[in-house]
């Protein structure tokens, strides 16, 4: 824990990608076929539920299900454990995907550096 900070500020300052900036490499690079993720919840559904902008992500359909479950089961506030878990798990998967994208970018940067070093040595 904290290895990413050591890499960014101490050991690999030139290759470590900045998560706040756009990534350099093409998302399709190295893949045969990569489909863009699709939203399951429609714009209309999210508007009707009055979801805040930040919560209109790829897990919004689970959130909408959770909100409906909560409203249907009130006052039993212990009823929606399954829906809550589904939403949390989807957000966790989203987080894992973002980490994987970051790691991919980092490895591609290192690969680029290795290729350049080899070209220079040759």
């Amino acid at each position: 824990m904290g290895a990413h900070l050591v890499r960014r500020y101490v050991t690999e300052t030139d290759t470590e990608p900045d998560p706040a900036k756009k990534f350099e490499f093409d998302p399709q690079f190295g893949f045969d076929e990569r489909k863009e993720r699709e939203m399951v919840a429609s714009q209309e559904q999210m508007n009707l539920a009055q979801l805040p902008l930040e919560q209109r992500d790829y897990c919004a359909h689970y959130l909408l299900k959770l909100m409906k479950c909560k409203r249907d089961n009130w006052p039993n506030f212990l009823a929606c454990k399954h829906e809550r878990h589904d939403w949390d798990y989807c957000e966790h998967q989203d987080y894992v995907m973002r980490m994987k994208e970051y790691e991919r970018e980092r490895r591609l940067q290192l690969r680029k550096k290795r290729i350049e070093a080899k070209a220079e040595a040759a």
């Binding site: 805040p52 930040e54 959770l66 009130w74 006052p75 987080y95």
Partner: protein
């Protein structure tokens, strides 16, 4: 109108009517019933609490929020000021909590203040405070919020200085008013800027029109206002001094309701703040500094009420940190859970103080666990909730805040300070428990200790229930508006707990050191720094008046006297004229020498001119 919204708006208006009615009855010329405080005021607040549960349940069940505009007060062609009440997520949840806590405190106050000849007036002041607090919380425009803001400030002044025969109480009340006034400068600046640039004080219009504007200056004004009201670093000394007031006042105003008004203001204005990184960073750093500084000061205090007051200030700093993380809902959750356990800590302190014949120094308490087991147990529950013990009320809010801080792309310095303050919280909480409950009594045995009175026990019991289950209830019923980050390494997840346990172990170690009799210890610099509250009041309360008086003296004597009189006015004329006069008089003395010299001079000049 739909029956549900009709029910909601009616219940909310009824709450205002129920709370205002006892105040209006005091205006009649008939002599007041000596039990008016209990029969009218406490009943009104209890009834208002139960009525406020209906809007709460409607909100939880259906997500119903309403805005009621009652009266067009001052409307011009371009600017409107209305009486407009906003019952959204924040005010609908806060109102029942404030009423519940106030109900418990009023019941406790009927015992605590029973020897006071003016108990009816005390209760009237508390009720007026509650009304102005609810006006502040439900305000939909800045003017109404300002009415509530000033109202709670004035009632705070009157209640802190309740025992006005005591000089310290008067000083403390004045201190509270002055520091709040400095904060008000920020709020008035914000209101003026908004009135000029956004052309309205209604919140909906403010948020809509301010979309792409640079709001740094008005937001800094808001932050100054919150600094004053919520005792952030720089404008914080009034809060520990406010402990001069009676304990029910400390429990209601200076822990649960009034001091959170500044944070509440920032939560209300969070749509304006969320895009302004300068304002957010200011809040974060100010909050982190406040939480650590006040936790440090709490470590070495000996007055039980001052320890709890500094603890309040530290938690307010934590709420400010949460605002700086752009998580207003988490800050609001902490306001709600904090109200329960902090009020309970104050009520337990008040019960112990009265039981020990008005002794407030923890060095003269001890062994209360065997003497007042219920109060001491509730003190422990409150302290555990404060330190964030898993699954009590404080855990849900405090741990969530620290997790959000750990997983955000932000300031390591603020994080370090906040974690250190969390460990200090455990240290001073254990210090209170160790000195008050554990060990042997260090006071004379002839004190009126008893826990027989239900007016003492029932309020503390109610607040204890709140401290245990409030966090669970609120988080289970409300879906967060901002998605919390649930994925983090185990170290980050357990950081708050680890730091608290480390603080607890450190405090236990230090406590065992007091078992041995050492030689008289010299004054250690860190202890002195903490005990003197960081020298902040010592410096500021003496330096500022001294500078002002010197400046006044300089202006009066130098600018006015010296410049006008001596350098440019009458004396200057004198000084200019005097040499000329002296020279002229000296020449015309009637001496032959002078005449002969003049004759010679004239002759020489005449000869020179002709040749």
């Amino acid at each position: 109108m739909h029956p549900t919204s009709l029910m909601m708006t009616s219940s909310l208006i009824i709450i205002f009517v129920i709370l205002t009615y006892p105040v209006l009855t005091t205006l009649s010329p008939r002599p007041q019933d000596p039990h008016w405080a209990l029969s009218h005021v406490k009943t009104a607040v209890k009834l208002a609490f139960f009525v406020s549960l209906l809007p709460l349940f409607l909100f939880l069940n259906e997500g119903l929020e309403t805005i009621i505009t009652n009266w067009n007060w001052m409307n011009t062609a371009t600017f409107d000021i209305n009486i407009s009440l906003k019952f959204d997520h924040y005010s609908v949840i806060f109102t029942p909590i404030a009423l519940y806590v106030t109900w418990s405190i009023l019941e406790f106050a009927s015992w605590y203040m029973h020897a006071d000849p003016d108990m009816n007036r005390f209760f009237k002041y508390l009720l007026i405070f509650l009304i102005t607090m609810i006006i502040l919380v439900t305000a939909n425009n800045m003017f109404q919020l300002f009415i509530g803001w000033e109202g709670v400030g004035i009632m705070s002044f009157l209640l802190i200085g309740w025992w006005h025969g005591r000089a310290d109480a008067n000083t403390a009340a004045l201190q509270a008013v002055l520091y709040n006034r400095i904060g008000d400068i920020g709020l008035i600046f914000f209101m003026a800027w908004v009135a000029m640039n956004l052309n309205s004080w209604e919140m909906q219009q403010m948020f809509a029109v301010a979309k792409d504007m640079d709001l740094t200056y008005p937001l800094l004004g808001l932050i100054i206002a919150a600094t004053g009201k919520s005792a952030q670093f720089g404008l914080h000394p009034w809060l520990p001094s406010a402990m001069e007031g009676p304990t029910p006042v400390s429990a209601l105003l200076h822990s649960s309701t009034m001091v959170v008004a500044g944070i509440f203001l920032l939560i209300r204005m969070s749509p304006l703040m969320e895009n302004n990184q300068t304002a957010l960073t200011t809040c974060l750093c100010l909050g982190a500094l406040t939480t650590l500084f006040t936790a440090t000061c709490a470590l070495t205090q000996n007055d039980i009420k001052k320890i709890v007051a500094f603890s309040t200030s530290s938690q307010l700093g934590l709420m400010m940190v949460t605002i700086g993380l752009n998580q207003p809902q988490l800050a609001f959750l902490h306001i709600c859970t904090h109200a329960f356990f902090k009020a309970m800590l104050f009520l337990c302190s008040g019960s112990i103080i009265h039981s020990l014949n008005d002794e407030q120094d923890i060095r003269k308490m001890g062994g209360m666990h065997r003497l007042t087991p219920f109060t001491s147990s509730c003190l422990t529950i409150g302290s555990l909730a404060l330190t964030g013990t898993p699954f009590l009320a404080g855990f849900f809010s405090k741990d969530a805040i620290i997790e959000a801080l750990n997983t955000s792309y932000l300031n390591a310095w603020a994080l370090a300070l906040t974690l250190l303050a969390t460990s200090f919280t455990a240290v001073y909480s254990l210090r209170v428990i160790y000195f008050v409950s554990m060990g042997h009594p260090r006071f004379n045995p002839l004190s009126p200790i008893n826990e027989n009175n239900p007016t003492v026990i029932n309020p503390i019991k109610r607040l204890a229930w709140g401290s245990i289950i409030a966090g669970l209830l609120i988080t289970s019923n409300i879906i967060p508006i901002k998605t919390p980050i649930m994925s983090m390494p185990a170290v980050l997840k357990l950081a708050a707990l680890t730091v608290t346990i480390l603080g607890l172990l450190l405090a236990l170690e230090l406590a065992t050191l007091t078992n041995k009799q050492f030689k008289p210890t010299p004054t250690l610099t860190p202890h002195h720094f903490s005990n003197m509250l960081g020298f902040f009041p010592t410096i500021i309360h003496r330096l500022t008046p001294k500078l002002n008086l010197f400046l006044g003296q300089a202006i009066a004597s130098q600018t006015i006297d010296q410049t006008w009189l001596e350098k440019s006015g009458p004396k200057a004329l004198t000084n200019l004229n005097l040499p000329m006069i002296t020279t002229t008089s000296n020449i015309q003395q009637g001496l032959i020498k002078t005449y002969l010299s003049l004759f010679l001079l004239t002759l020489t000049l005449a000869l020179l001119i002709s040749y």
